[in-house]
Protein backbone atom coordinates (compact mmCIF):
# COMPACT_ATOMS: atom_id res chain seq x y z
CA UNK A 1 0.00 0.00 0.00
CA UNK A 2 1.24 3.49 -0.79
CA UNK A 3 2.50 5.19 2.35
CA UNK A 4 -0.09 7.95 2.32
CA UNK A 5 -2.97 5.47 2.47
CA UNK A 6 -3.06 3.79 5.86
CA UNK A 7 -4.85 0.57 6.82
CA UNK A 8 -6.59 1.23 10.10
CA UNK A 9 -8.97 -0.32 12.57
CA UNK A 10 -12.44 1.22 12.57
CA UNK A 11 -11.67 2.92 15.91
CA UNK A 12 -8.35 4.27 14.65
CA UNK A 13 -10.09 5.56 11.55
CA UNK A 14 -12.68 7.37 13.67
CA UNK A 15 -9.86 8.83 15.76
CA UNK A 16 -8.42 10.44 12.60
CA UNK A 17 -11.57 12.58 12.33
CA UNK A 18 -11.02 15.39 14.81
CA UNK A 19 -13.63 17.30 16.78
CA UNK A 20 -14.79 20.32 14.81
CA UNK A 21 -14.11 18.70 11.45
CA UNK A 22 -16.45 19.20 8.53
CA UNK A 23 -17.41 15.73 7.39
CA UNK A 24 -19.11 14.90 4.09
CA UNK A 25 -21.37 11.85 4.30
CA UNK A 26 -23.30 10.04 1.55
CA UNK A 27 -27.03 9.44 1.32
CA UNK A 28 -28.47 6.20 2.68
CA UNK A 29 -28.45 4.49 -0.72
CA UNK A 30 -24.78 5.12 -1.38
CA UNK A 31 -22.75 3.37 1.33
CA UNK A 32 -22.82 4.82 4.85
CA UNK A 33 -19.91 3.97 7.17
CA UNK A 34 -22.23 3.06 10.06
CA UNK A 35 -19.61 1.21 12.10
CA UNK A 36 -17.27 4.20 11.82
CA UNK A 37 -20.14 6.47 12.83
CA UNK A 38 -20.69 4.28 15.88
CA UNK A 39 -16.97 4.61 16.66
CA UNK A 40 -17.24 8.40 16.38
CA UNK A 41 -20.09 8.29 18.88
CA UNK A 42 -18.10 6.02 21.21
CA UNK A 43 -15.12 8.35 21.17
CA UNK A 44 -17.51 11.24 21.95
CA UNK A 45 -16.75 13.29 18.83
CA UNK A 46 -17.97 16.86 19.22
CA UNK A 47 -18.83 19.89 17.09
CA UNK A 48 -18.82 18.06 13.81
CA UNK A 49 -20.05 19.97 10.79
CA UNK A 50 -21.89 17.32 8.80
CA UNK A 51 -22.36 17.86 5.09
CA UNK A 52 -24.96 15.48 3.69
CA UNK A 53 -24.40 14.73 0.00
CA UNK A 54 -27.11 15.71 -0.44
CA UNK A 55 -29.59 14.20 2.09
CA UNK A 56 -29.00 13.10 5.68
CA UNK A 57 -30.39 9.83 7.00
CA UNK A 58 -29.80 7.41 9.82
CA UNK A 59 -26.12 8.21 10.39
CA UNK A 60 -26.85 11.93 10.72
CA UNK A 61 -29.63 11.23 13.23
CA UNK A 62 -27.38 8.95 15.31
CA UNK A 63 -24.68 11.61 15.42
CA UNK A 64 -27.09 14.45 16.18
CA UNK A 65 -28.78 12.43 18.94
CA UNK A 66 -25.42 11.57 20.47
CA UNK A 67 -24.42 15.22 20.64
CA UNK A 68 -21.64 14.99 18.06
CA UNK A 69 -22.97 17.61 15.62
CA UNK A 70 -23.12 21.39 15.85
CA UNK A 71 -23.66 22.26 12.18
CA UNK A 72 -25.81 20.27 9.74
CA UNK A 73 -25.74 21.08 6.04
CA UNK A 74 -28.24 19.17 3.90
CA UNK A 75 -30.84 19.45 1.18
CA UNK A 76 -33.08 17.09 3.15
CA UNK A 77 -33.17 15.03 6.34
CA UNK A 78 -35.21 11.87 6.09
CA UNK A 79 -35.48 8.21 6.93
CA UNK A 80 -37.32 7.56 3.68
CA UNK A 81 -40.28 5.29 4.15
CA UNK A 82 -39.52 5.18 7.88
CA UNK A 83 -40.48 8.84 8.18
CA UNK A 84 -38.70 11.78 9.75
CA UNK A 85 -35.41 11.74 11.64
CA UNK A 86 -36.51 11.95 15.29
CA UNK A 87 -33.35 13.40 16.85
CA UNK A 88 -32.91 15.89 14.03
CA UNK A 89 -36.48 17.11 14.40
CA UNK A 90 -36.11 17.34 18.18
CA UNK A 91 -32.90 19.35 17.85
CA UNK A 92 -34.51 21.70 15.33
CA UNK A 93 -37.51 22.31 17.58
CA UNK A 94 -35.17 22.94 20.49
CA UNK A 95 -33.18 25.37 18.35
CA UNK A 96 -29.92 23.64 19.25
CA UNK A 97 -28.74 22.73 15.76
CA UNK A 98 -27.22 25.15 13.26
CA UNK A 99 -29.09 23.81 10.24
CA UNK A 100 -27.93 24.99 6.82
CA UNK A 101 -30.70 24.07 4.47
CA UNK A 102 -29.65 23.59 0.87
CA UNK A 103 -30.94 22.07 -2.34
CA UNK A 104 -29.38 18.88 -3.71
CA UNK A 105 -27.65 20.32 -6.80
CA UNK A 106 -26.16 23.17 -4.74
CA UNK A 107 -24.32 20.67 -2.57
CA UNK A 108 -23.08 18.82 -5.62
CA UNK A 109 -22.09 22.11 -7.25
CA UNK A 110 -20.22 23.30 -4.15
CA UNK A 111 -18.29 20.04 -4.02
CA UNK A 112 -17.58 20.25 -7.74
CA UNK A 113 -16.18 23.75 -7.20
CA UNK A 114 -13.71 22.28 -4.70
CA UNK A 115 -13.00 19.42 -7.08
CA UNK A 116 -12.08 21.96 -9.75
CA UNK A 117 -10.26 24.27 -7.35
CA UNK A 118 -12.52 27.18 -8.25
CA UNK A 119 -14.04 29.55 -5.70
CA UNK A 120 -17.65 29.07 -6.79
CA UNK A 121 -19.95 27.37 -9.23
CA UNK A 122 -22.87 29.12 -10.92
CA UNK A 123 -26.16 27.27 -10.75
CA UNK A 124 -29.53 27.79 -12.42
CA UNK A 125 -32.82 27.79 -10.54
CA UNK A 126 -33.12 28.71 -6.82
CA UNK A 127 -34.09 32.34 -7.53
CA UNK A 128 -37.21 33.23 -5.55
CA UNK A 129 -36.52 30.55 -2.95
CA UNK A 130 -36.27 31.54 0.71
CA UNK A 131 -33.21 29.30 0.86
CA UNK A 132 -31.33 32.40 -0.33
CA UNK A 133 -32.36 34.12 2.93
CA UNK A 134 -31.07 31.20 5.01
CA UNK A 135 -27.83 31.01 3.03
CA UNK A 136 -25.96 34.33 3.13
CA UNK A 137 -23.01 32.43 1.64
CA UNK A 138 -24.99 31.92 -1.59
CA UNK A 139 -24.84 34.98 -3.82
CA UNK A 140 -26.85 36.19 -6.77
CA UNK A 141 -24.98 37.92 -9.59
CA UNK A 142 -25.86 39.08 -13.07
CA UNK A 143 -24.67 36.58 -15.65
CA UNK A 144 -21.69 38.46 -17.12
CA UNK A 145 -22.32 36.84 -20.53
CA UNK A 146 -25.96 37.94 -20.86
CA UNK A 147 -27.97 41.14 -21.13
CA UNK A 148 -29.05 42.55 -17.72
CA UNK A 149 -31.82 40.71 -15.89
CA UNK A 150 -30.34 37.22 -16.24
CA UNK A 151 -29.60 36.73 -12.55
CA UNK A 152 -27.81 33.57 -11.52
CA UNK A 153 -26.93 32.03 -8.16
CA UNK A 154 -23.32 31.30 -7.35
CA UNK A 155 -22.56 28.59 -4.79
CA UNK A 156 -19.22 28.85 -2.94
CA UNK A 157 -16.89 25.87 -2.97
CA UNK A 158 -17.59 23.25 -0.29
CA UNK A 159 -14.26 21.82 0.89
CA UNK A 160 -14.94 19.20 3.60
CA UNK A 161 -12.11 18.38 5.96
CA UNK A 162 -13.10 14.75 5.65
CA UNK A 163 -15.19 12.50 3.42
CA UNK A 164 -16.40 9.36 5.20
CA UNK A 165 -18.18 6.42 3.59
CA UNK A 166 -18.45 2.67 3.24
CA UNK A 167 -17.71 0.70 0.07
CA UNK A 168 -17.55 -2.89 -1.06
CA UNK A 169 -13.90 -3.31 -1.99
CA UNK A 170 -10.48 -1.82 -1.59
CA UNK A 171 -7.36 -3.32 -3.15
CA UNK A 172 -4.03 -3.61 -1.34
CA UNK A 173 -2.77 -0.45 -3.06
CA UNK A 174 -5.50 1.56 -1.36
CA UNK A 175 -7.76 2.00 -4.38
CA UNK A 176 -11.48 1.90 -3.50
CA UNK A 177 -14.15 0.46 -5.79
CA UNK A 178 -17.46 2.36 -5.69
CA UNK A 179 -19.11 1.25 -8.93
CA UNK A 180 -21.71 3.75 -10.16
CA UNK A 181 -21.76 5.70 -6.87
CA UNK A 182 -19.85 8.61 -8.32
CA UNK A 183 -20.98 11.03 -5.57
CA UNK A 184 -18.45 9.18 -3.43
CA UNK A 185 -15.72 10.03 -5.92
CA UNK A 186 -16.83 13.66 -5.97
CA UNK A 187 -16.66 13.71 -2.17
CA UNK A 188 -13.15 12.24 -2.21
CA UNK A 189 -11.97 14.73 -4.82
CA UNK A 190 -13.44 17.65 -2.91
CA UNK A 191 -12.39 16.72 0.63
CA UNK A 192 -8.96 17.29 2.16
CA UNK A 193 -8.90 13.71 3.47
CA UNK A 194 -11.02 10.66 2.75
CA UNK A 195 -11.59 7.75 5.13
CA UNK A 196 -13.32 4.63 3.91
CA UNK A 197 -14.55 1.45 5.52
CA UNK A 198 -14.89 -1.55 3.20
CA UNK A 199 -16.47 -4.96 3.19
CA UNK A 200 -13.36 -6.58 1.73
CA UNK A 201 -9.73 -5.79 0.99
CA UNK A 202 -8.75 -7.81 -2.07
CA UNK A 203 -5.66 -8.65 -4.11
CA UNK A 204 -4.89 -7.06 -7.46
CA UNK A 205 -4.81 -3.48 -8.68
CA UNK A 206 -8.19 -1.99 -9.60
CA UNK A 207 -6.53 0.73 -11.67
CA UNK A 208 -5.16 -1.77 -14.18
CA UNK A 209 -8.32 -3.92 -14.09
CA UNK A 210 -10.56 -3.28 -17.08
CA UNK A 211 -13.69 -4.25 -15.17
CA UNK A 212 -12.97 -2.37 -11.93
CA UNK A 213 -11.04 0.70 -13.06
CA UNK A 214 -13.99 2.78 -14.17
CA UNK A 215 -15.64 2.55 -10.74
CA UNK A 216 -12.53 3.13 -8.66
CA UNK A 217 -11.34 6.03 -6.53
CA UNK A 218 -7.53 6.05 -6.83
CA UNK A 219 -5.52 5.66 -3.61
CA UNK A 220 -4.17 9.14 -4.30
CA UNK A 221 -7.31 10.55 -2.68
CA UNK A 222 -7.63 8.06 0.20
CA UNK A 223 -6.06 8.80 3.59
CA UNK A 224 -7.15 5.67 5.43
CA UNK A 225 -9.08 2.45 4.97
CA UNK A 226 -10.57 0.15 7.60
CA UNK A 227 -11.80 -3.37 7.00
CA UNK A 228 -15.36 -3.42 8.36
CA UNK A 229 -17.55 -6.34 7.24
CA UNK A 230 -21.23 -5.32 7.29
CA UNK A 231 -19.93 -1.84 8.06
CA UNK A 232 -22.88 -0.33 6.20
CA UNK A 233 -25.57 -2.05 8.29
CA UNK A 234 -28.33 -1.36 9.11
CA UNK A 235 -28.63 1.11 6.22
CA UNK A 236 -27.53 -1.49 3.69
CA UNK A 237 -25.04 -1.58 0.86
CA UNK A 238 -26.14 -1.89 -2.75
CA UNK A 239 -25.18 -5.23 -4.23
CA UNK A 240 -24.15 -6.66 -0.86
CA UNK A 241 -26.99 -6.56 1.67
CA UNK A 242 -30.31 -4.71 1.94
CA UNK A 243 -31.41 -2.24 4.55
CA UNK A 244 -32.42 -3.87 7.83
CA UNK A 245 -35.93 -2.42 7.91
CA UNK A 246 -36.74 -3.96 11.30
CA UNK A 247 -33.67 -2.46 12.97
CA UNK A 248 -34.38 0.94 11.44
CA UNK A 249 -38.01 0.78 12.58
CA UNK A 250 -36.86 -0.07 16.12
CA UNK A 251 -34.61 2.96 16.04
CA UNK A 252 -37.28 5.25 14.60
CA UNK A 253 -39.64 4.33 17.44
CA UNK A 254 -37.06 4.41 20.24
CA UNK A 255 -35.58 7.75 19.19
CA UNK A 256 -38.90 9.59 19.44
CA UNK A 257 -37.87 10.61 22.97
CA UNK A 258 -34.54 11.62 24.46
CA UNK A 259 -34.73 8.80 26.97
CA UNK A 260 -35.69 6.28 24.35
CA UNK A 261 -32.74 7.36 22.19
CA UNK A 262 -30.39 7.15 25.18
CA UNK A 263 -31.50 3.63 25.99
CA UNK A 264 -31.18 2.60 22.34
CA UNK A 265 -27.73 4.16 22.16
CA UNK A 266 -26.53 2.48 25.34
CA UNK A 267 -27.67 -0.90 24.23
CA UNK A 268 -27.01 -0.82 20.49
CA UNK A 269 -23.98 1.41 20.00
CA UNK A 270 -22.21 1.65 23.34
CA UNK A 271 -22.86 -2.00 24.13
CA UNK A 272 -23.86 -1.30 27.70
CA UNK A 273 -26.28 -3.72 29.33
CA UNK A 274 -29.31 -1.70 30.43
CA UNK A 275 -29.44 -1.40 34.24
Amino acid sequence: MMPDTATLTVDALAARIPDGASVAIPPDYSGCAMRAVAALIKRKARNLHLIAVPAGGLQADWLIGAGCVSIMEAAAMTLGEHGTLPRFVAAMKAGTLDMRDATCPAIHAGLQASEKGIPFMPLRGILGSDLLKLRPDWHVIDNPLSPPGDRIVIIPAIRPDVALFHARYADRNGNVWIGVRRELMLMAHAARETFVTVEEIVDGDFLTDDAKGAGTIPALYISGIAHAPRGGAPVGLAGAYPADAAAIAVYARAAQTTDGFRAWLDETILGNVPA
Binding site: S30, A76, E81, M99, R151, R182, L186
Partner: protein
Protein backbone atom coordinates in the same frame (compact mmCIF):
# COMPACT_ATOMS: atom_id res chain seq x y z
CA UNK B 1 -58.24 -8.14 -7.65
CA UNK B 2 -59.55 -5.47 -10.05
CA UNK B 3 -62.95 -5.66 -8.43
CA UNK B 4 -61.46 -4.15 -5.26
CA UNK B 5 -62.61 -0.57 -4.73
CA UNK B 6 -60.43 2.06 -6.42
CA UNK B 7 -58.40 3.89 -3.78
CA UNK B 8 -57.51 7.57 -3.69
CA UNK B 9 -53.83 6.89 -4.45
CA UNK B 10 -54.98 4.88 -7.45
CA UNK B 11 -57.11 7.78 -8.69
CA UNK B 12 -54.12 10.09 -8.24
CA UNK B 13 -51.84 7.64 -10.05
CA UNK B 14 -54.31 7.47 -12.91
CA UNK B 15 -54.65 11.26 -13.15
CA UNK B 16 -50.88 11.77 -13.08
CA UNK B 17 -50.13 9.01 -15.57
CA UNK B 18 -52.49 10.60 -18.09
CA UNK B 19 -50.39 13.79 -17.93
CA UNK B 20 -47.33 11.82 -19.02
CA UNK B 21 -48.58 10.23 -22.22
CA UNK B 22 -46.27 10.89 -25.14
CA UNK B 23 -43.33 12.15 -23.10
CA UNK B 24 -39.84 10.75 -23.70
CA UNK B 25 -38.22 10.86 -20.28
CA UNK B 26 -39.94 11.13 -16.91
CA UNK B 27 -37.90 11.34 -13.69
CA UNK B 28 -39.15 10.64 -10.17
CA UNK B 29 -37.48 11.97 -7.02
CA UNK B 30 -37.38 10.91 -3.38
CA UNK B 31 -40.45 10.08 -1.31
CA UNK B 32 -42.63 9.86 -4.41
CA UNK B 33 -44.40 6.49 -4.51
CA UNK B 34 -47.57 7.83 -6.17
CA UNK B 35 -45.76 9.65 -9.00
CA UNK B 36 -43.38 6.72 -9.28
CA UNK B 37 -46.30 4.36 -9.83
CA UNK B 38 -47.86 6.80 -12.29
CA UNK B 39 -44.63 7.05 -14.28
CA UNK B 40 -44.17 3.29 -14.38
CA UNK B 41 -47.80 2.90 -15.46
CA UNK B 42 -47.35 5.47 -18.23
CA UNK B 43 -44.20 3.65 -19.32
CA UNK B 44 -46.02 0.32 -19.36
CA UNK B 45 -48.64 1.91 -21.63
CA UNK B 46 -46.07 3.57 -23.90
CA UNK B 47 -44.85 0.36 -25.49
CA UNK B 48 -41.28 1.08 -24.41
CA UNK B 49 -41.18 4.57 -25.85
CA UNK B 50 -40.90 6.30 -22.45
CA UNK B 51 -37.89 6.25 -20.17
CA UNK B 52 -38.49 6.45 -16.43
CA UNK B 53 -35.70 7.35 -13.99
CA UNK B 54 -36.67 6.47 -10.45
CA UNK B 55 -34.41 7.92 -7.76
CA UNK B 56 -33.50 5.25 -5.22
CA UNK B 57 -34.20 2.37 -7.60
CA UNK B 58 -31.40 0.09 -8.65
CA UNK B 59 -33.33 -1.23 -11.64
CA UNK B 60 -35.28 1.73 -13.04
CA UNK B 61 -32.33 4.10 -12.88
CA UNK B 62 -30.27 4.91 -15.95
CA UNK B 63 -27.71 7.14 -14.23
CA UNK B 64 -23.98 6.43 -14.00
CA UNK B 65 -22.54 9.81 -12.98
CA UNK B 66 -23.56 9.97 -9.34
CA UNK B 67 -26.12 12.01 -7.46
CA UNK B 68 -25.60 15.08 -9.61
CA UNK B 69 -26.61 13.44 -12.88
CA UNK B 70 -30.38 13.82 -12.39
CA UNK B 71 -29.88 17.56 -11.92
CA UNK B 72 -27.40 17.94 -14.75
CA UNK B 73 -29.68 15.90 -17.01
CA UNK B 74 -32.61 18.20 -16.17
CA UNK B 75 -30.52 21.27 -16.91
CA UNK B 76 -29.53 19.77 -20.28
CA UNK B 77 -33.23 19.65 -21.17
CA UNK B 78 -33.31 15.86 -21.25
CA UNK B 79 -36.11 15.39 -18.68
CA UNK B 80 -39.68 16.19 -19.68
CA UNK B 81 -41.56 15.75 -16.41
CA UNK B 82 -40.93 15.58 -12.67
CA UNK B 83 -42.94 15.59 -9.45
CA UNK B 84 -42.82 17.72 -6.32
CA UNK B 85 -44.85 17.78 -3.14
CA UNK B 86 -44.86 20.11 -0.18
CA UNK B 87 -45.77 20.31 3.47
CA UNK B 88 -47.52 23.43 2.24
CA UNK B 89 -48.45 24.44 -1.31
CA UNK B 90 -49.85 27.88 -1.97
CA UNK B 91 -52.09 29.35 -4.65
CA UNK B 92 -49.13 30.80 -6.57
CA UNK B 93 -47.50 27.41 -6.90
CA UNK B 94 -44.91 28.06 -4.19
CA UNK B 95 -44.03 24.98 -2.17
CA UNK B 96 -42.69 24.63 1.36
CA UNK B 97 -40.62 21.59 2.26
CA UNK B 98 -38.73 23.18 5.15
CA UNK B 99 -41.18 23.79 7.98
CA UNK B 100 -43.68 25.96 9.81
CA UNK B 101 -42.66 29.00 11.79
CA UNK B 102 -39.10 30.29 12.09
CA UNK B 103 -36.97 27.94 10.00
CA UNK B 104 -34.16 28.25 12.57
CA UNK B 105 -36.45 26.93 15.34
CA UNK B 106 -39.54 25.62 13.56
CA UNK B 107 -42.84 24.58 15.15
CA UNK B 108 -43.00 21.80 12.58
CA UNK B 109 -39.98 20.68 10.62
CA UNK B 110 -40.43 19.10 7.18
CA UNK B 111 -37.69 16.97 5.57
CA UNK B 112 -36.14 19.77 3.53
CA UNK B 113 -36.17 21.19 0.04
CA UNK B 114 -34.41 18.31 -1.78
CA UNK B 115 -33.88 19.33 -5.41
CA UNK B 116 -37.11 21.34 -5.62
CA UNK B 117 -35.52 24.80 -5.68
CA UNK B 118 -33.67 23.73 -8.80
CA UNK B 119 -35.78 21.24 -10.71
CA UNK B 120 -38.93 23.38 -10.46
CA UNK B 121 -37.14 25.92 -12.65
CA UNK B 122 -35.66 23.54 -15.19
CA UNK B 123 -38.09 20.73 -16.00
CA UNK B 124 -40.89 21.80 -18.35
CA UNK B 125 -43.70 19.79 -16.76
CA UNK B 126 -43.52 19.66 -12.96
CA UNK B 127 -46.57 17.97 -11.48
CA UNK B 128 -47.33 18.78 -7.85
CA UNK B 129 -48.91 16.05 -5.75
CA UNK B 130 -50.27 15.94 -2.22
CA UNK B 131 -52.79 13.36 -1.06
CA UNK B 132 -53.91 15.36 1.98
CA UNK B 133 -56.11 18.11 0.58
CA UNK B 134 -56.90 20.50 3.45
CA UNK B 135 -56.56 24.16 4.43
CA UNK B 136 -53.46 23.02 6.35
CA UNK B 137 -51.64 21.79 3.25
CA UNK B 138 -53.09 24.05 0.54
CA UNK B 139 -52.53 27.52 1.97
CA UNK B 140 -52.82 31.14 0.78
CA UNK B 141 -49.12 31.73 1.38
CA UNK B 142 -46.46 29.23 2.39
CA UNK B 143 -44.44 29.90 5.57
CA UNK B 144 -41.25 29.25 3.64
CA UNK B 145 -40.67 29.16 -0.12
CA UNK B 146 -38.54 26.11 -0.86
CA UNK B 147 -39.21 26.56 -4.55
CA UNK B 148 -41.04 29.44 -6.19
CA UNK B 149 -43.98 28.83 -8.50
CA UNK B 150 -43.11 31.68 -10.86
CA UNK B 151 -40.12 33.86 -11.66
CA UNK B 152 -39.32 37.46 -12.53
CA UNK B 153 -39.07 38.54 -16.16
CA UNK B 154 -35.59 37.96 -17.54
CA UNK B 155 -34.85 35.05 -15.24
CA UNK B 156 -33.95 31.79 -16.90
CA UNK B 157 -36.91 29.47 -16.35
CA UNK B 158 -37.69 26.77 -18.88
CA UNK B 159 -39.58 24.82 -16.22
CA UNK B 160 -42.39 25.22 -13.72
CA UNK B 161 -45.65 23.89 -12.34
CA UNK B 162 -48.00 22.10 -14.71
CA UNK B 163 -50.69 20.71 -12.40
CA UNK B 164 -51.52 19.83 -8.80
CA UNK B 165 -53.05 16.44 -8.05
CA UNK B 166 -54.53 15.88 -4.58
CA UNK B 167 -56.69 13.32 -2.86
CA UNK B 168 -59.75 15.33 -3.92
CA UNK B 169 -59.10 16.80 -7.35
CA UNK B 170 -56.87 17.88 -10.21
CA UNK B 171 -55.81 21.51 -10.69
CA UNK B 172 -53.95 22.90 -13.70
CA UNK B 173 -51.56 25.81 -13.27
CA UNK B 174 -51.73 29.03 -15.28
CA UNK B 175 -48.28 30.61 -15.45
CA UNK B 176 -49.53 34.00 -16.69
CA UNK B 177 -51.96 34.36 -13.81
CA UNK B 178 -49.69 32.49 -11.35
CA UNK B 179 -52.69 30.53 -10.10
CA UNK B 180 -54.52 27.20 -10.21
CA UNK B 181 -57.65 26.14 -12.09
CA UNK B 182 -59.83 23.25 -10.92
CA UNK B 183 -59.95 20.76 -13.80
CA UNK B 184 -61.73 17.77 -12.28
CA UNK B 185 -62.85 16.41 -8.92
CA UNK B 186 -62.45 12.77 -7.90
CA UNK B 187 -65.48 10.48 -7.58
CA UNK B 188 -67.79 11.60 -4.79
CA UNK B 189 -66.19 15.04 -4.42
CA UNK B 190 -68.05 18.24 -5.34
CA UNK B 191 -66.67 21.62 -6.30
CA UNK B 192 -67.94 22.88 -2.96
CA UNK B 193 -66.00 20.14 -1.16
CA UNK B 194 -62.86 21.26 -2.95
CA UNK B 195 -63.53 24.91 -2.12
CA UNK B 196 -63.99 24.28 1.57
CA UNK B 197 -60.90 22.10 1.76
CA UNK B 198 -58.63 24.55 -0.11
CA UNK B 199 -56.88 27.40 1.66
CA UNK B 200 -56.07 29.32 -1.52
CA UNK B 201 -58.15 30.96 -4.22
CA UNK B 202 -58.52 29.13 -7.50
CA UNK B 203 -60.52 29.40 -10.71
CA UNK B 204 -62.85 26.79 -12.15
CA UNK B 205 -65.47 26.26 -14.78
CA UNK B 206 -69.13 26.45 -13.66
CA UNK B 207 -69.36 22.67 -13.78
CA UNK B 208 -66.40 20.51 -12.90
CA UNK B 209 -66.12 17.03 -14.43
CA UNK B 210 -65.28 13.93 -12.47
CA UNK B 211 -61.67 12.80 -12.69
CA UNK B 212 -61.61 10.07 -15.33
CA UNK B 213 -61.36 6.54 -13.98
CA UNK B 214 -58.63 4.21 -15.18
CA UNK B 215 -59.88 1.66 -17.72
CA UNK B 216 -60.27 -1.79 -16.14
CA UNK B 217 -57.30 -3.32 -17.96
CA UNK B 218 -55.07 -0.36 -17.04
CA UNK B 219 -56.11 -0.67 -13.41
CA UNK B 220 -55.26 -4.36 -13.55
CA UNK B 221 -51.86 -3.49 -15.01
CA UNK B 222 -51.28 -1.02 -12.18
CA UNK B 223 -52.19 -3.57 -9.55
CA UNK B 224 -49.97 -6.30 -10.97
CA UNK B 225 -46.99 -5.27 -13.11
CA UNK B 226 -46.59 -1.73 -11.79
CA UNK B 227 -47.19 -2.76 -8.17
CA UNK B 228 -44.29 -5.17 -8.44
CA UNK B 229 -42.06 -2.67 -10.21
CA UNK B 230 -42.61 0.08 -7.62
CA UNK B 231 -42.16 -2.38 -4.72
CA UNK B 232 -38.41 -2.47 -5.38
CA UNK B 233 -38.11 1.20 -4.37
CA UNK B 234 -41.19 1.67 -2.16
CA UNK B 235 -41.84 -1.70 -0.48
CA UNK B 236 -44.03 -0.32 2.32
CA UNK B 237 -46.21 1.62 -0.11
CA UNK B 238 -46.63 -1.34 -2.45
CA UNK B 239 -47.49 -3.62 0.45
CA UNK B 240 -50.09 -1.27 1.94
CA UNK B 241 -51.65 -0.46 -1.45
CA UNK B 242 -51.57 -3.77 -3.21
CA UNK B 243 -50.33 -6.33 -0.73
CA UNK B 244 -47.23 -7.15 -2.80
Amino acid sequence: MSTKVVTTPEIMIGAISRMLYGLGHVAVGSSSPIPGSAALLARALSGGRMRVSLLGSEVHNPFTDGGRELFDCAAQGRIDAFFLSGGQIDGHGNINLVGLGDPRQPKVRFPGSFGSAYLYHLIPRVILFREEHSPRTLVPKVDFISAAGTSLDGEYRPGGPHALVTGLCVFSFDKKRAGFTLESAHTGTTKADVQSATGFEFQSAPTVPETAALPVDTLAMLRSRVAHEIAETYPAFARSQWGV
